[in-house]
């Protein structure tokens, strides 16, 4: 007899061969952030996303994998792009989706987050994708309902699927993340995309830097283990990848920076500044872009930009996350041992 390595005892296949199962610890009930994931868990999600890319290239962009599952997109903050991306991911896996926008729900009448979630759960929702303006809101929900919870952005804390699709995009264009030099440019203080990226990149062994006005960097930023560049020119000199963060207009009115014009002059990514780069730098942006503020159009639309690839990868990564979280129950696997 030849011992079969890596196959779980009794896990049934649809044929006599046992499907290869990843030995990585499963991601768990929820995806709340990248800070506490291991390198292999992140690797599993990225590897799982690869085959899902192909489905979006088919004519019939649908597989029956999550058929019969109900997923609620609970968005307390307006967001077209992220919500649509999740919706495509859900529908391409044949799940039923329900979109709840905070203004349309009873939340505006003062219903608490807990009650909203419990009401949805009582309707037998399988998964909730939540975007909320308060840091910690996704964790708050996940601790209180049994459904899987996916964080689509909580306050200024994390946006894990964005971090993952950014990692996948870098990997596609520049190979393994280990040792890659990635600089996050802009308002790191208020950016959940920045935090998820920093943690995801560090987990996979990249060298991470940030660049932005000091008033928009957390006071404790050095303790994150990242380099800090005061000038965009220094970042361009050093980096292989620039991930340019969106500058919100409110920051100006709140007094963090004097004007958008100065921000663009000093910190904006422009063609002339990029031309002095010693290497071919990948340009990324989570969107939506403020053209002419943090990034100029000729850069965003230029040859170094992979911004549209990020969008494509977004759907694949979200499909992978949905697939991995909507896992079967191991007890049922025991019961189904060897009978198929």
């Amino acid at each position: 007899m030849i011992p079969r390595a890596g196959a779980p005892a009794g896990a049934a296949g649809t044929a006599s061969a046992v499907p290869p199962v990843s030995p990585v610890v499963p991601v768990g009930k929820d995806l709340l952030g990248l800070e506490n994931l291991t390198a292999s868990q992140i690797g599993l999600i990225l590897d799982t996303a690869e085959p899902f890319k192909e489905i979006s290239e088919r004519q019939i962009k649908k597989v029956p994998t999550l058929r019969g599952m109900t997923i609620v997109n609970l968005f307390f903050e307006a967001s077209t792009r992220t919500r649509i991306s999740f919706e495509f991911a859900e529908k391409r896996l044949s799940a039923d989706t329900v979109n709840v926008a905070a203004s349309a729900s009873s939340v505006s009448k003062g219903e608490t987050l807990v009650d909203t979630a419990r009401n949805l759960e009582a309707m037998r929702i399988d998964m909730v994708v939540i975007r909320h303006g308060a840091s910690g809101a996704a964790r708050f929900l996940a601790d209180r309902i049994d459904s899987n919870v996916i964080n689509a952005g909580d306050g200024t804390h994390e946006h894990p699927t964005q971090g993952l699709l950014d990692l996948l995009t870098i990997r596609d264009h520049r190979g393994p993340i280990q040792g890659r030099r990635v600089c996050l440019c802009g308002d790191v203080l208020h950016s959940r995309v920045a935090r998820s990226n920093i943690w995801g990149l560090q987990r996979l062994g990249a060298e991470v830097a940030v660049c932005g006005p000091r008033s928009l960097l957390p006071n404790a930023i050095e303790e994150f283990g990242v380099r800090v560049f005061q000038r965009i020119e220094e970042a361009i000199e050093w980096a292989e990848v620039l991930n340019v963060l969106r500058l919100q207009l409110e920051r100006m009115t709140a007094g963090y920076i004097p004007s958008l014009r100065e921000y663009n002059r000093v910190f904006g990514v422009t063609r002339e500044k990029l031309e002095r780069a010693p290497r071919d730098i990948l340009i990324m942006h989570p969107g939506p872009m403020n053209r002419g503020v943090e990034i100029d159009s000729d850069v965003a639309d230029g040859p170094h930009s992979v911004i549209l690839d990020q969008v494509t990868n977004g759907v694949a990564v979200r499909m992978a996350v949905l697939y991995l979280l909507a896992g079967g129950k191991p007890e049922l696997a025991e019961a189904a041992k060897g009978e198929r």
Binding site: E50, V63, L324, G328, A333, R340
Partner: protein
Amino acid sequence: MADQIVELYGAENLVLVGIQRRGVQLSERIARIIDEREDTQLPRGALDITLYRDDLQTVGPRPVVGSTHLPWALDDKCVVIVDDVLYTGRTVRAALDELADFGRPARIALAVLVDRGGRELPIHADVVGKVVDVPSGDRVDVLVSELDGEDAVVIVPRRSET
């Protein structure tokens, strides 16, 4: 098996599609034999049926999804699905569903290296390498040198890994 396929369906409009994982290697070998003998360049594809399985909810940790690669239009072709072992028939059922999402072949046939009986669905193989009779609890695994370092057919009795 290669000869049988050509005999039954001819080499025109033939597409060989292997089911991940070892069906792909077997399909590649058969295609090469046919190419040599018939002087053709048969289109080959690979099909991963994980996302079409009917038991995803019970199988435990998520199976790894392999790649699916069907570069040719399937309409009007004769598609021969190649797999290593035919048992309950559920894998083939999943493959048929998946192929339907890609197009409408003129016909679909099934070629398997080992048929071990125990069907749970009305599926039959058109081309069979060998029929074996094995108690329902045991497993039949095919090893291919490309992946496992050797070619072999192995019978694994029930409970040997509990």
